[in-house]
């Protein structure tokens, strides 16, 4: 029982690690103040769930979740490419609200009723039904994601993203098409948020729009800031801290009406504490601006 509980926590840590590492590419490495990441997570979850429920194989649904979320990311950059800093943050936050409203009002997403009974993944005839096998699946995808992002940020492409974050105009006068760079960064970032959404949907087996709203957004951004901007390892550590620490509250017999707000207070306290101790986050390489 306890082992199953820990496996459940590790699965969530894995999913949120993928989600926060992908946000860190746009936010920490590229300097795009993106508050719409939760929308890509939601799009991925819904696309994967809906496709799989109409008979599309899991692997295709899973990849489609990434591709459709990636397309949403490209669209977001297309409409906001002239915005920077706070204005970009507001525009991306607005985008998250629009996606939330769509999920809440479209017929095929079943609005606030959500989608119950999402099947567990089936890969080459094997159904990933137990928590342990799901953890292995999340671990495999998580490690591949980590290796990919490690390659991205250490490549010359990654250096360009860092230069874009520090001074876009200077990078342009060095002959680099920064708009294209933003498209690539946001596209990759949203793709991985989409596949994290797919893993989430098929694990929880029930999704509704409230799973992809403000509280989730705060959670993801908190993970990235605690772990540190422009640090993949930091995002992994951040996911562990933010997912694990509030679990301590479970050992107190608190009613759910108190437990929810307590979690939010916990996130805020951890965030303030870490930033007090290390203003760049635990492993952050760049300043919060």
């Amino acid at each position: 029982m306890i082992a199953n509980y820990f496996i459940h926590i590790l699965i969530l840590v894995g999913i949120y690690s993928i989600l926060s590492v992908s946000l860190n590419l746009a936010l920490g490495y590229t300097g795009l103040l993106n508050l719409g990441h939760v929308a890509f997570f939601g799009v991925g979850a819904y696309v994967s769930a809906l496709l799989n429920m109409v008979g599309v194989p899991f692997i295709i649904s899973f990849l489609a979740a990434g591709v459709v979320a990636g397309a949403f990311g490209l669209f977001l950059i297309y409409v906001s490419k002239k915005l920077k800093g706070d204005y970009l943050a507001l525009a991306t936050l607005g985008f998250a609200f629009i996606v939330y409203s769509l999920l809440l009002n479209l017929k095929f997403t079943r609005g606030p009723l959500g989608i119950p009974g999402i099947p567990k993944p089936e890969i080459f005839g094997i159904v990933i039904s137990s928590n342990l096998s799901y953890l292995i699946l999340v671990l495999v995808i998580g490690v591949l994601t980590f290796l990919f992002f490690n390659k991205v940020v250490k490549s010359s492409f990654g250096k360009m993203l860092g230069a874009l974050r520090d001074d876009e105009l200077n990078l342009r006068v060095l002959g680099k098409n920064t708009t294209k760079l933003k498209y690539y960064s946001m596209g990759i970032s949203a793709f991985f948020a989409g596949i994290a959404g797919s893993l989430f949907a098929h694990y929880i087996t029930y999704i509704d729009p409230s799973s992809f709203y403000m509280s989730e957004l705060i959670l993801i951004v908190t993970i990235v800031i605690i772990g540190g901007l422009a640090s993949i390892e930091g995002s992994l550590i951040g996911a562990f801290i933010v997912i694990l620490i509030p679990e301590v509250l479970r050992f107190f017999a608190l009613p759910s009406s108190i437990l929810g707000p307590m979690r939010q207070i916990f996130y805020a306290l951890v965030l303030i504490g870490v930033l007090w101790w290390r203003p760049k986050g635990i492993l952050g390489k760049v300043d919060l601006q």
């Binding site: 490549s155 010359s156 230069a163 520090d166 060095l174």
Partner: protein
């Protein structure tokens, strides 16, 4: 090399550049001088595409670059520095040079391709600009003078036909000023085409092959440095009538 035809730029009611015609010859050092607000930096911004012209045209090596975006003009061969140094504060000296040297347009390919070894080229430019610092130092940890040198170094390593330096010695000590002057002389010997904006007349006088003086967005003088020193228009622009 660069041909500017009747270029105009206004900011609201202020005419910053007023129908300037100018030719910048290959292998020459052209100094653009003039008092504050005469339109020097706006002219630089117009050439490099940071500011969009109202009318007129700019061509580089016979090719009209007026409609190109700033990064495309850079690809066409324009390299520039800024009056207030702009660097990538979280990147190291080495990373600055690597970004500047990288002219591969296929951005996604870079993720999977092996990073090029630019060590020799970086070492050459570091020696040339006289920047004695560990190349793993972040730009944020450099002094103002070192940042100026790095800024010029990036402009040099980036593939270019014209190097435009916006007040390269503004706000630095006399020793470093001499160092930068010597560097520009070396670049001239290497056949570089250089355009310099400079307030300090003395700095450009024994450096420039040609001096262009601007006032209120107009060219009021064009000639040699020696002619500039005795020009009534130039003196009036600086000292008043």
């Amino acid at each position: 090399m660069i041909k500017i035809k009747n270029i105009n730029k206004s900011f609201g009611g202020l005419k910053a550049v007023d129908g300037i015609n100018l030719e910048i010859g290959k292998g020459q050092i052209t100094a653009i001088i003039g008092p504050n607000g005469s339109g020097k930096t706006t002219l630089f911004n117009l050439i490099s595409g940071i500011v969009e012209k109202d009318s007129g045209s700019i061509s580089l090596n016979g090719k009209n670059i007026s409609r190109q975006e700033d990064f495309q003009r850079s690809e066409s061969g324009i390299s520039r520095t800024f009056q207030h140094v702009r660097l990538f504060k979280n990147l190291t000296i080495r990373e600055h040079f690597e970004v500047a040297l990288d002219d591969d347009k296929n951005l996604l390919k870079k993720i999977f391709s092996k990073n090029k070894d630019s060590g020799d080229e970086i070492e050459r430019v570091m020696r040339l600009i006289g920047l004695e610092k560990n190349i793993e130092t972040k730009a944020n940890d450099l002094s103002y003078g070192q940042r100026k040198l790095l800024d010029i170094g990036i402009g040099i390593v980036k593939k270019h036909d014209v190097l435009m330096l916006d007040e390269p010695v503004a706000g630095i000590n006399p020793l470093l000023r001499r160092k930068i002057k010597e560097l520009i002389k070396v670049l001239r010997e290497q056949g570089e085409t250089i355009v310099i904006i400079e307030h300090n007349m003395e700095f450009v006088m024994d450096l420039a092959d040609r001096v262009v003086c601007l006032e209120q967005g107009n060219v009021i003088f064009e000639g040699t440095a020696k002619e500039a020193q005795s020009s009534k228009e130039v003196l009036e622009a600086y000292l008043g009538k």
